[in-house]
């Protein structure tokens, strides 16, 4: 029974984290076939904003989220104007943008490593930020309030994004662009502005998930790499661009990872995810919730 509760608790936490990260990736891919490899560094930066906010300035972490979202969104806009904007007309945009944003991410990581080694020497590298140390027991399993906050934040953000996409003109324009780009242009939707908006939104989400990540993982310049990888796995598993599917897939990946970590061993968690993805893609090449195989003509 305790095993079971333990699996649910950590599965939900992993799932919430992956869902937030994957949501941003899926939105950006859906809008203009851009796989944003700089998504990870934006999560890292989010964690650093929180660190800056809470540890250096001594302000309540709760208020760091809007600040991080705005900074993250700004960084997303920067990513667009440094890379994607100049590459949109390229024939193989889908491939070149991966390399370009990968490069951007690496450069930012390198900068962070150099800069922070000198400035912060000891402080950030292994200092988890706490959202609250208290916990309560479910059965015999302690569940920290911090986890509840993580779940709640993820749930609220996902619902807000859902409302934004379905209830506002800007959100509908994003969906229209994702579903039929040329038709969206024929309606008068400025699709390039939509691209910028989507990248800003996704990056804002990434920064907030970075804060949440910092609540149970060490803050260091390379910390975004792992969640980025997992988010990629999630959106491929779901079927590229399928946003609702990505949320379910995130939960599934989180649960599978937690199950294996609890019942087998920590180190096999990632292996289990990869096996799951391979099996799923052999069974359904377009992804679990995908309707068509994404192939280049």
């Amino acid at each position: 029974m305790n095993f079971f509760i333990q699996i649910i608790v950590s599965g939900l936490t992993f799932g919430a984290m992956y869902a937030l990260a994957a949501l941003g990736l899926a939105l950006v891919w859906g809008a203009f076939n851009m796989l944003n490899m700089a998504h990870g560094i934006i999560m890292t930066l989010g964690a650093y904003y929180a660190l800056l906010w809470a540890e250096i300035w001594g302000l309540p972490l709760f208020f760091a989220a809007p600040f991080a979202a705005i900074c993250g969104g700004g960084f997303g806009v920067l990513v667009y104007f440094i890379s994607a904007h100049w590459m949109l007309r390229q024939r193989n945009f889908e491939v070149t943008i991966i390399i370009a944003t990968f490069g951007l991410g690496m450069a930012a990581e390198a900068g962070l490593l150099k800069f922070l080694r000198e400035e912060f020497r000891t402080a950030p590298y292994s200092q988890p930020l706490s959202l609250g140390a208290d916990s309560f027991l479910v059965g015999d399993v302690p569940v920290s309030y911090q986890r509840i906050v993580v779940w709640a934040v993820a749930l609220v953000l996902i619902m807000l994004v859902g409302l934004f996409l379905t209830r506002t003109n800007a959100g509908r324009a994003i969906r229209a662009t994702a579903q039929s780009r040329d038709a969206a242009r024929l309606m008068g939707i400025p699709v390039k502005r939509v691209y910028v908006m989507v990248l800003a939104l996704a990056s804002g989400l990434a920064a907030i998930s970075g804060i949440m990540l910092s609540s149970f993982k060490d803050v260091h310049p390379l910390m975004g790499g792992d969640p980025l990888l997992k988010a990629f796995i999630v959106i491929v598993l779901a079927g590229l661009g399928n946003i609702t599917g990505a949320l379910y897939a995130a939960l599934l990946v989180g649960m599978v990872e937690a199950t294996v970590k609890v019942l087998v061993a920590d180190k096999y968690g990632f292996t289990a995810i990869l096996v799951l993805v391979i099996a799923a893609l052999i069974w359904r090449p377009a992804g679990l919730f995908g309707q068509r195989v994404v192939a280049r003509q």
Partner: protein
């Protein structure tokens, strides 16, 4: 003669060095229904895409009321008043009928009056009213075409371009669609219509342009076309 609403002068266009349109010139006067007729793959859709801004022409000029619009982005062209109802409908498949219509009224100049205008659309296309909450991808072919037309009408504009409204539909549904187009013409809309099937437009069009391998090979009225046996046999299979 007064200046035409839409004028195309010596337009050239193509894909990857292949010329699809060669020296096409065409006038669309205000209030007229002008047709482009011709077999598939001869540049009709390319011409509409160039006008709508989805494609850049390689030469020539496109003017809307004397103002050049060639090379402008599609989102700008529709704001200036040139609306394209594209081939194959290009609906937003995962959106409801209502949301698709709403996207038609995305531009600020039509957004405010959407709730009134959509009621007018429902009287022209009552089928859409029964389907408002249904996802566009679940509609039948005829309903999809009606939705595409309704969405295009909601964009307002000064000239309506319709690309093959009969494509892939059963004859009885084509009749319905052409009834709608006839009503639009009667209400004074300026229309540029692309069609493959001469019999549908011969009585309807003010002027017919025959497009063959990217060139306009003949232009005239419906009666002239009907009496021109040679043209009918050469280009339209009798």
């Amino acid at each position: 003669m007064a200046e035409p609403l839409l004028a195309i002068h010596n337009l050239h266009a193509g894909y990857e060095g292949q010329n699809v349109l060669k020296d096409v010139s065409l006038d669309v006067p205000e209030g007229a229904l002008i047709t482009l007729l011709g077999p598939n793959g001869h540049g009709k859709t390319t011409l509409l895409k160039c006008i709508a801004g989805l494609m850049k022409p390689s030469g020539g000029r496109i003017e809307l009321a004397g103002r050049r619009i060639d090379g402008a982005e599609a989102e700008r062209v529709v704001d200036l008043g040139v609306v394209l109802i594209p081939q194959g409908d290009m609906l937003f498949p995962e959106m409801s009928v209502y949301d698709n219509l709403k996207m038609g009224a995305y531009l600020p100049r039509v957004r405010k009056t959407f709730s009134e205008e959509v009621e007018k659309i429902y009287t022209i296309l009552p089928r859409l009213k029964e389907r408002t909450t249904q996802l566009a991808r679940t509609l039948s072919g005829g309903e999809r075409r009606m939705l595409a037309i309704g969405r295009g009408l909601l964009s307002g504009g000064r000239i309506l371009m319709i690309d093959e409204p009969s494509l892939g539909l059963a004859p009885i549904v084509i009749d319905q669609i052409y009834e709608i187009i006839t009503d639009l013409k009667a209400s004074g809309r300026t229309i540029l219509l692309v069609e493959e099937n001469a019999s549908r437009i011969i009585d309807l069009a003010d002027r017919i342009h025959l497009l063959d391998t990217g060139q306009i090979v003949w232009a005239g009225g419906g009666e002239e076309l009907q009496s021109n046996q040679q043209i009918l046999e050469t280009y339209l299979g009798g």
